[in-house]
């Protein structure tokens, strides 16, 4: 099972790459929608990248409950643990 810190770093890198911002601008507690300017279309793309990397299928309706990178990490960790 991947370590939480490793997951946080990997997912932050992945988000940074998709929204084309430097990694240091990605704070795991930042709100994806308010602070990082992500909208639902980009959010779906981030889920798609997560699906590919971890070979899971994060449902799109999770977008309604995920607010931060930390939430994303918890979601992925939960799915990997199953």
């Amino acid at each position: 099972m991947p370590d939480k810190n490793v997951l946080t770093r990997e997912i932050s890198e992945l988000v940074a790459k998709i929204i084309k911002l430097p990694l240091e601008k990605i704070n795991p507690q930042a709100n994806l929608f308010n602070d990082l300017g992500i909208d639902s279309l980009v959010g779906v793309e981030i889920f798609a990248a997560i699906d590919k990397k971890y070979r899971i299928e994060v449902p799109e309706n999770k977008l309604r409950s995920v607010q931060t990178i930390a939430d994303l990490v918890a979601t992925v960790q939960g799915m990997l643990n199953k």
């Binding site: 300017g37 909208d39 980009v42 793309e45």
Partner: protein, 534 residues
């Protein structure tokens, strides 16, 4: 093709295309499909139910849910019964949706099951048809006492963000929609062999008219994407042989970035750059596009049958169009607004100058205000709305002597192609092609006790994926003795009550009163100048 009402269209299409598939969507085991015959039968069932719920000609019916074949059939059923469909954005919060349903005086709501809670405790609670349960509606020979529907009858009220504090209901008639749907074959040579992939939200008039009604009118097949994840879109394209897709610039940017990432992962960056250079060389010097051959692998990923993509909603970066062009993909850009149902002009397969938004579509006239070379774009034609619902005063401000004053600024070149250079209104257009009207947000923000007054402006995003597009910036004067931290907290909570695209991205604090006109309207332009945003 002669203009017909949407009522006539549904019956005509069943006769003409019968068992051909009209709508489909991927399920666990294959695709859930509806033929043109099925569409007629199911719309009759919905209409019978609507009549039982008391709907008569001219009554408004709300419609909310994610894209799916049943959404489109519900839209056709309401409109072809003579009702007026009020499509709502599925990302609206409960309060926002309720306000629009109340304003439109909707008699019935057709919705996806998850929206039932939106009307709990309201008169609509018992006036519901659930999209997931259309199959359970009883069979019927059709609605009773059908009333004749005419081309100029109202078909839909589409709410767009308002410039006066509350969203405006754009009233569109059968003629408005069908005048565009019936010319789509002249512009794009669309027919029964085409397969559309529907990805944009159906309540958005661009998708309603371009991605749904035009395709349906011309006998094409529409596949509703079950997910917007790029790998799912590509799977849909491969499985269904997609030929046409309508999207917004951000979607094409994401698809292009996805291709680039895969190229990097496979360490093919150099090869990709060389092939792109070769392709651009042949396009530039021989007007020959070899992209389809050079990038055959990419085309295969897209299903191999793409004829063209349509981009609308916001201006697309010409470099992005060129990048797709080098790979052998055509992106056609059009221009319009909801008030024009929504297409005013469009490039075509034969005339696709990059940077232009094309010539006016057949039947539509376009001119520049005051006969200037560059100025506000005015449009006139059968697609122009009947007006704003219950708002004759603001209708009179935007439609004068039959000309729609678009608020956009541009020019027409010697070949008759229209170019957009800016906007004369304060509307903020996000990268997803959604309009945000400052007045609406200010109206709501000013109600917060922590805020004395506010001014909303759009500012260009400086970095990242959405670089160059606009984001919502709030200039806020806090109420007396209220700290900036308290305002930030209040705005954060306020953001949670809004659809994502309207959220305040940045706050600029100000202690002095906002500059105002003699009529006490905030001088937005002066604020933008003062902050160096223009």
């Amino acid at each position: 093709m002669q203009l017909m009402t949407i009522t006539e269209l549904v019956a005509r299409n069943a006769r003409q295309y019968g068992r051909q598939v009209a709508f489909q969507m991927r399920e666990d085991n294959g695709y859930r499909q509806y033929s043109f015959d099925d569409v007629l039968e199911i719309t009759k069932k919905i209409q019978t139910r609507l009549q039982k719920l008391g709907v008569v000609k001219g009554d408004r019916v709300g419609l909310i849910g994610e894209n799916r074949p049943e959404w489109s059939m519900a839209w056709l059923a309401i409109v072809s019964l003579g009702g007026v469909v009020v499509p709502l954005d599925a990302v609206l919060r409960q309060e926002e949706a309720r306000a629009l349903l109340a304003d439109s005086e909707a008699k019935v709501l057709i919705c996806a099951e998850r929206f039932l809670e939106y009307v709990q405790g309201t008169p609509l609670e018992k006036q519901i048809i659930i999209l997931e349960k259309l199959a359970e509606l009883s069979s019927t020979n059709g609605p009773d006492n059908s009333t004749a529907v005419a081309l100029d009858d109202l078909a839909s009220i589409v709410y767009t963000s308002g410039t006066t504090g509350f969203p405006k209901g754009v009233m569109l008639s059968h003629r408005n929609f069908m005048s565009i749907a019936t010319v789509a074959d002249q512009l794009f040579d669309i027919g029964p062999n085409d397969n559309f992939l529907s990805v944009l939200p159906l309540h958005h008039t661009f998708e309603t008219t371009a991605g749904f009604l035009s395709a349906y009118t011309l006998g094409a097949r529409i596949t509703y994407a079950e997910s917007l994840k790029s790998h799912n879109l590509l799977r849909n394209m491969q499985e269904t042989g997609t030929t046409i897709m309508c999207g917004v610039p951000l979607l094409y940017q994401l698809l292009f970035d996805g291709i680039n990432r895969e190229v990097e992962e496979k360490k093919l960056t150099r090869l990709f750059a060389v092939l792109t250079a070769i392709s651009r060389f042949f396009i530039k010097y021989f007007q020959l596009n070899l992209g389809r051959q050079l990038f055959a692998t990419v085309h295969k990923k897209f299903g191999g049958k793409i004829r063209f993509f349509v981009s609308g909603g916001a201006a697309i970066d010409p470099n992005l169009i060129r990048s797709f062009e080098a790979m052998g993909f055509i992106i056609i850009q059009g221009y319009g607004m909801t008030e024009a149902a929504p297409i005013i002009s469009a490039n075509t397969l034969k005339n696709n100058p990059i940077g232009a938004v094309g010539k006016p579509i057949p039947g539509v006239e376009v001119k520049i205000a005051g006969n200037e070379l560059v100025g506000e774009i005015l449009a006139k034609g059968p697609n122009i709305m009947k007006g704003y619902y219950k708002r004759p005063e603001i209708t009179a401000e935007i439609i004068k002597a039959g000309w729609l004053h678009t608020g956009d600024v541009g020019y027409i070149d010697e070949k008759g192609d229209l170019y957009i250079t800016g906007r004369s209104k304060d509307v903020i257009v996000t990268a997803s092609g959604v309009n945000v009207y400052p007045d609406e947000l200010e109206f709501l923000l000013n109600k917060l006790p922590e805020i004395k007054e506010s001014c909303i402006v759009g500012d260009k995003v400086k970095a990242g994926l959405r670089k160059g597009s606009e984001e919502v910036v709030a200039i806020i004067v806090p109420a007396e003795n209220v700290s900036q931290a308290a305002v930030e907290k209040a705005v954060k909570a306020f953001n949670q009550t809004l659809a994502d695209y309207k959220r305040v991205a940045r706050i600029i604090f100000r202690q002095e009163e906002l500059p105002k006109t003699r009529l006490l309207k905030v001088k937005r332009f002066a604020m933008r100048q003062e902050l160096g945003l223009i």
